[in-house]
Structures are given as structure tokens and as C-alpha cells.
């Protein structure tokens, strides 16, 4: 990386981290229990009243951290999936990975959530099993006879598989109990349900580890962008890299959405914004999409819970509100260039 490049990257990372911090301040101030900025600052350094300590540390802080980490996880997963499919329209939600994860989550919620103390630790694993099932099904169905994958067909099949898993999830939850059904229904709309420190302690290492592993793929993914044949000549195994990218995309997206709900279009939005800013080098876009994903999700969640206090609107609805039109815009642009 040229020194100039590195500086601009540092600048971007610093600016976006500052944005994260501002979003954080914005989010921690807003809510049904009003706290002034001064009170927040006092509480954070350890001089708060009992009430403000409770609100800040038990309610807002864990929720904010979960939104930040979950947003990053979904954004990185989206980047990887776009690289795997070679299609910039790929989104982990649209392609059905989230729906698969929801299936795993409902199985866990119905049969294992009370099985032992800290059973929540198993959530990402259950979600991952559901997600990987969906991924295998989609890739299998999208392969044509000559073993190539038509990427638009892949998206369409993803949409259908997503509908199938959603139907299974709602079916199972309806069968089990009314509470499970309303949980599943609000999960599908992208409601950040995980709000405790235990959930932070699960999602944080999960996303951190797999994001780092994803970053190690950045260089080979850059080579893949040039073309599969070119990548092959540099001595990397295209198949191996692609499969790893898909596996990591499933791990990151299902682990994240298990906690933050079905946030569609985030895996599309964040990587695109990142590419707009710094170009197509994965060493830059992966970390930047992670940060942008965090900001978008935290902002959506904050707006949803503070602007509509009485009946909070799930974060997923705001993301879809921006992400849906953006997807159509990209679809038409791509169509034009073909």
C-alpha cells in the first residue's frame, strides 16, 4: 500500500470512528428516560445516580454495543457474499441466510433456551446451522448443469428460499406458543431483541474473531476481483477462497442476526458506501464497511426507539426503507451496463 493510500485510509477510519462516537453519544442520550449529556458523562466516569447507572449500564450500553457489533458483522458478511457471488447486489438478508438463521434461532428458543444456565451461549451455533442449511440449498439450486452460477438467478432463488424458511419459522413458532410466534414475527422485522450483557459477551468475540479471519482473505479477494483465471495464475485456489468467503459470510451474518434480528439490505448498503469512499481494495473496504454497518444499524435502532417512544419501530424497517430503493437503483444501473 502506498503511503498516500495508507494516510487516506487512516483518515477515513478516524473520521468514521468519530462518527461512531457521535452516533454513540446521540444514542446514549435518547430514550424514554431522559439523561443530559453531563449526567451521561458523570455516570460513565463513575459519578452517576443509581437511576442513571441503571439506565445507562443495564439498558442502553449493552443494546448500543449489540447494535454496533451486529451491524459490523452483517456488513462484513455482505461484503464477503458479494465477492463470493461476484454480484454487487448480493445481500445476506435477500439471499435467505437470515431466514435460515431464524430457523435455527426458533429451534433454540423453543427447545433449548431453558436447558442450562448460560444456554444463550449456544445461540450463534444454532443460527449458524440454520444459515448454512439455507446457503447450501441456495448454491445447490442455483447451479446450472454446466456447474456455473448465474448470479441473478442466485438472488431470485435466494428470495424464494428466504420465503420458504420464513414460512417454516412462522409455522414452527405458531405451533409452539403465542409468545414464540410474536417473537418470531418481530424478529423477522429486524427488532434488536438481545439487550443484556450476556448477549454482548457472546456476539462480540464471535464477530471479532470471524471478522479478523475475513480480513486475512482481503488480499486473495482482491485477486478474485480481477478474474478467476487471473487469481488462479497467482497460485491461489479460487475454490478454496470462495468457499471460505461463503463460510465466513454465513458465520458472521447468522451470529449477528440471531441477536439483532432480520436486518435486510444492510449487507448491501454498507459495502457499497465503503466502495464509493475508498474504491475496491478489500483491505480498505472490509474495515470501512464494518464501521459503516455499525453506524447505520445503531442510528436506525436509536431513531426507532426514541422517535417512536410508545411503539418502538424495529431497526430493520428503517434499514429496509433506505436499502430497498438503493437496491432498485443498483439493479437498474447494472442492467444498463450489461
Amino acid at each position: 500500500m502506498a503511503p498516500k493510500r495508507r494516510n487516506s485510509l487512516l483518515l477515513y477510519i478516524l473520521v468514521t470512528l468519530l462518527l461512531v462516537f457521535l452516533t454513540f453519544l446521540f444514542s446514549i442520550n435518547l430514550g424514554s428516560y431522559h439523561l443530559s449529556l453531563l449526567e451521561v458523562a458523570n455516570t460513565l466516569v463513575g459519578h452517576g445516580s443509581d437511576n442513571s447507572i441503571l439506565v445507562l449500564f443495564e439498558y442502553r450500553l449493552p443494546r448500543i454495543l449489540i447494535a454496533l457489533v451486529g451491524g459490523a458483522g452483517i456488513a462484513v458478511a455482505g461484503s464477503l457474499l458479494q465477492s463470493y457471488t461476484g454480484n454487487h447486489l448480493a445481500d445476506t438478508g435477500l439471499l435467505g441466510l437470515h431466514a435460515g438463521a431464524s430457523f435455527g434461532l426458533i429451534i433454540f428458543m423453543s427447545f433449548f433456551s431453558q436447558s442450562f444456565l448460560y444456554a444463550e451461549m449456544l445461540i450463534p451455533f444454532f443460527a449458524f446451522i440454520g444459515g448454512i442449511l439455507a446457503a447450501i440449498l441456495i448454491v445447490y439450486l442455483a447451479k446450472s448443469k454446466n456447474r456455473t452460477i448465474n448470479t441473478n438467478k442466485l438472488i431470485l432463488i435466494g428470495i424464494a428460499v428466504s420465503a420458504l424458511f420464513n414460512a417454516i419459522t412462522l409455522f414452527l413458532s405458531l405451533r409452539l406458543s403465542d409468545e414464540t410466534y410474536s417473537f418470531a414475527a418481530s424478529w423477522l422485522l429486524g427488532n434488536i431483541w438481545a439487550r443484556d450483557w450476556i448477549h454482548v459477551s457472546i456476539i462480540l468475540p464471535w464477530v471479532a474473531i470471524f471478522s479478523l479471519l475475513a480480513y486475512r482473505l482481503a488480499h486473495p479477494l482482491n485477486l478474485l476481483q480481477v478474474g478467476d483465471e487471473f487469481a488462479q495464475t497467482t497460485g491461489i485456489s479460487v475454490k478454496y477462497i470462495k468457499n471460505n468467503a461463503l463460510l465466513l459470510a454465513v458465520l458472521l451474518s447468522s451470529g449477528s442476526v440471531a441477536m439483532v434480528g432480520n436486518i435486510s439490505f444492510l449487507g448491501l448498503l454498507a459495502p457499497h458506501l465503503a466502495r464509493q469512499l475508498v474504491g475496491s481494495d478489500y483491505r480498505l473496504t472490509l474495515p470501512l464497511s464494518a464501521i459503516l454497518g455499525s453506524i447505520i444499524l445503531l442510528l436506525s435502532d436509536t431513531i426507532g426507539r426514541s422517535l417512536f417512544e410508545a411503539n418502538p419501530i424495529p431497526a430493520g424497517i428503517f434499514v429496509a426503507f433506505i436499502g430497498g430503493p438503493y437496491f432498485i437503483f443498483l439493479l437498474l444501473k447494472n442492467n444498463r451496463s450489461v
Binding site: L94, L141, N311, P312, A320, G324, R336
Partner: protein, 330 residues
């Protein structure tokens, strides 16, 4: 296939549809014999409990299911002909999504709205989303392939669904979540049926009259115009029918996807590629499908009910996948 064969098929489909309606009226939490059903319809006795069940609960629900199935299936046939896209369905393409959005807005701001006005706003919503979906086809330079068009529609459907859900949550309309999620005919009342059934019957009749032109346009626009068909008029009137059928169906039962996808394919297997026959066959098959699906939704986990749309998705998705897998290129 001779005309006589086709007539025979239509009559058989009609009998099948009638049989499914009778079966659905008689089965349920309380099984009712055919004789009781007969007397309750022709010699109604207000003091008879079974007659009450049939008249107040079963009959409106089953008739609602039959005509909802008819509306969505015929709308699906028309839109598949006009777009020449075998994956098209008013649920999948987001046309129903616009209707649901407007119905949701009505419930949010004016919960006591009459059914007539609700249907009207449902039409408005369906019209706007139809314009939205098709203008995307126009904005795109170069032709959108059926796959791309379907993806665009599906994303618009997801987008409209998100907005409707947001409104439903904010105004606390979630008492009947199933309506917004998957649709259903459990809440159909006698008050809704006369308008609804009239609209559906008229629209289906007009669609059969347009059948010949639809068949020709399904074969290609150039050929249609060389045969002297006014394409603009045909597109306009057939999209009008789609909006009428979709909007009326949504106002009664919410959005049920996949009926309009599956049924035209099945109808083609029965009567071939002539839309003068596909449309009546779709109407009858659609009503049979939704009546039977609603019956299943009521009885498999009784006393709990399964959302109708979920049940139909279980049949619809595999069907969609099979059709999509067969499709060529981008």
C-alpha cells in the same frame, strides 16, 4: 385438444371447486352433514345451532376463500400473459404490497372505515404499486429480463411490507398479525361479500373476453400489433383488471402470494395455451386451491389456526424454485 375436451375439463374443474366448497363447509371444529347444510341454506332456521354456524361462520369464510382464490389466480394469469414472465404473481411482484400498505394506512387513521371505502383505497394502493413496478421496467435502458424484473418486484414487495409493518406497529395494529404477514380469510363477513363477489365475477368475465388478445400478446408484441391489436389499450385494460382483482382480494384477505404463480401453470397443463380457456380454468383452480388450503389451515392443528399464506407458501416456494430453475440466462 378439441373444444369439447376443454368444455369437459372446465365442467370437471367446476365440479371439483364445488366439491371443495361443500367439503370446507361441512368440516371443522364441528362436522356437519350434507343434509344439514342443505336445509340450512334452503330452509334456514335461526334457532338451529348448526344452521347458525354454517350461516354466520362457515359460509362467508368459504365463499371468501373461493373468490379470493379466483381473484388472485386470474390476476396471476393476466400478468403472466402481459409480462410474458412465467414467474410473475401479484404477490411476488409487490402489487399486493401497495394494496396492503393503503389498507394499513386506512386502519391506522380511520379504523371504522366502511368496507366499500377500504376496497377503494386498496385499489388505489394496488394501482400505485403497479405503476411503480412497471415504471422500473421503463426506466431501465434495455430490456429487463424476466429474472431481473422479478427481483425488482420482490424487492419492492419487501420495501412496501417494511413500511406497512412499521405503520402497523406504530399504531398498534398488530392484534391480527397474520393479516399483515400472510393474509387469511378468517375475518370475512357477509357485509364484504356482495361487493367483492360482484367485482371478481365482472373482472373474470371481462378477462375471458380479452382472452384471445392475451393469447396473441403472450406470443410477442410484434405479432400482436401486426394482427391489428391495439396493444396500448390491451395493456391498459388488462392491468386495470389486475388492479381490480388484486385490490379487491387484498381488502378481503390481505396479501396471499404464490396463488397467481402456481395456478396459471396448472391451468395450462389442463387446457393448453389459449387464454380464453386458461382464465376460466385458473378461476376454478384458484378457488379450489384457496378453499382447500384454508380448510387445512383450520383443521390440521385445531383449535389453533395456521395462517393461510404460510400454508400456501409451502406449496408455492418449491413451485417457484422449479420454474426458476428451468429459466434461461439472466
Amino acid at each position: 385438444m378439441t373444444t369439447w375436451h376443454k368444455w369437459r375439463t372446465i365442467i370437471l374443474l367446476f365440479l371439483g371447486s364445488l366439491a371443495s366448497i361443500i367439503l370446507a363447509i361441512s368440516l371443522g371444529a364441528k362436522d356437519i352433514s350434507f343434509m344439514t347444510m342443505w336445509t340450512s341454506i334452503f330452509h334456514f332456521d335461526a334457532n338451529n345451532n348448526l344452521h347458525q354456524i354454517i350461516y354466520e361462520i362457515r359460509l362467508p369464510r368459504v365463499l371468501g376463500a373461493a373468490f379470493v382464490g379466483m381473484a388472485f389466480a386470474v390476476a396471476g394469469s393476466i400478468i403472466q400473459a402481459v409480462t410474458r414472465n412465467s414467474l410473475a404473481d401479484i404477490g411476488i411482484l409487490g402489487i399486493n404490497g401497495g394494496a396492503v400498505l393503503f389498507v394499513t394506512i386506512c386502519f391506522a387513521f380511520y379504523p371504522a372505515i366502511s368496507y366499500g371505502w377500504l376496497t377503494f383505497f386498496s385499489f388505489v394502493g394496488a394501482t400505485l404499486s403497479t405503476i411503480l413496478v412497471f415504471s422500473i421496467g421503463l426506466v431501465a435502458r434495455g430490456n429487463l429480463s424476466p429474472l431481473t424484473f422479478t427481483i425488482a418486484g420482490a424487492v419492492i414487495a419487501a420495501f412496501l411490507h417494511a413500511i406497512s409493518s412499521g405503520i402497523a406497529i406504530f399504531f398498534d395494529l398488530n392484534r391480527d398479525l397474520a393479516f399483515w404477514y400472510a393474509g387469511g380469510v378468517a375475518g370475512v363477513t357477509w357485509g364484504q361479500l356482495p361487493i367483492f363477489i360482484t367485482i371478481v365475477i365482472i373482472a373474470v368475465f371481462v378477462a375471458i373476453l380479452l382472452g384471445k388478445q392475451l393469447t396473441i400478446i403472450g406470443a410477442g408484441q410484434e405479432m400482436a400489433s401486426s394482427l391489428g391489436i391495439n396493444i396500448r389499450f390491451l395493456l391498459f385494460s388488462s392491468m386495470g383488471l389486475v388492479v381490480l382483482l388484486g385490490g379487491a382480494g387484498v381488502a378481503v384477505a390481505g396479501s396471499i402470494s404464490f396463488v397467481g404463480l402456481i395456478i396459471p401453470h396448472v391451468a395450462r397443463k389442463f387446457v393448453g395455451h389459449d387464454y380464453r380457456w386458461i382464465i376460466p380454468a385458473s378461476a376454478l383452480l384458484g378457488s379450489t386451491l384457496v378453499v382447500m388450503a384454508d380448510l387445512l389451515a383450520r383443521i390440521i392443528f385445531a383449535p389453533k389456526e395456521l395462517a393461510l399464506g404460510i400454508l400456501i407458501a409451502f406449496i408455492g416456494v418449491p413451485f417457484f424454485l422449479i420454474v426458476a430453475k428451468k429459466m434461461e440466462g439472466i
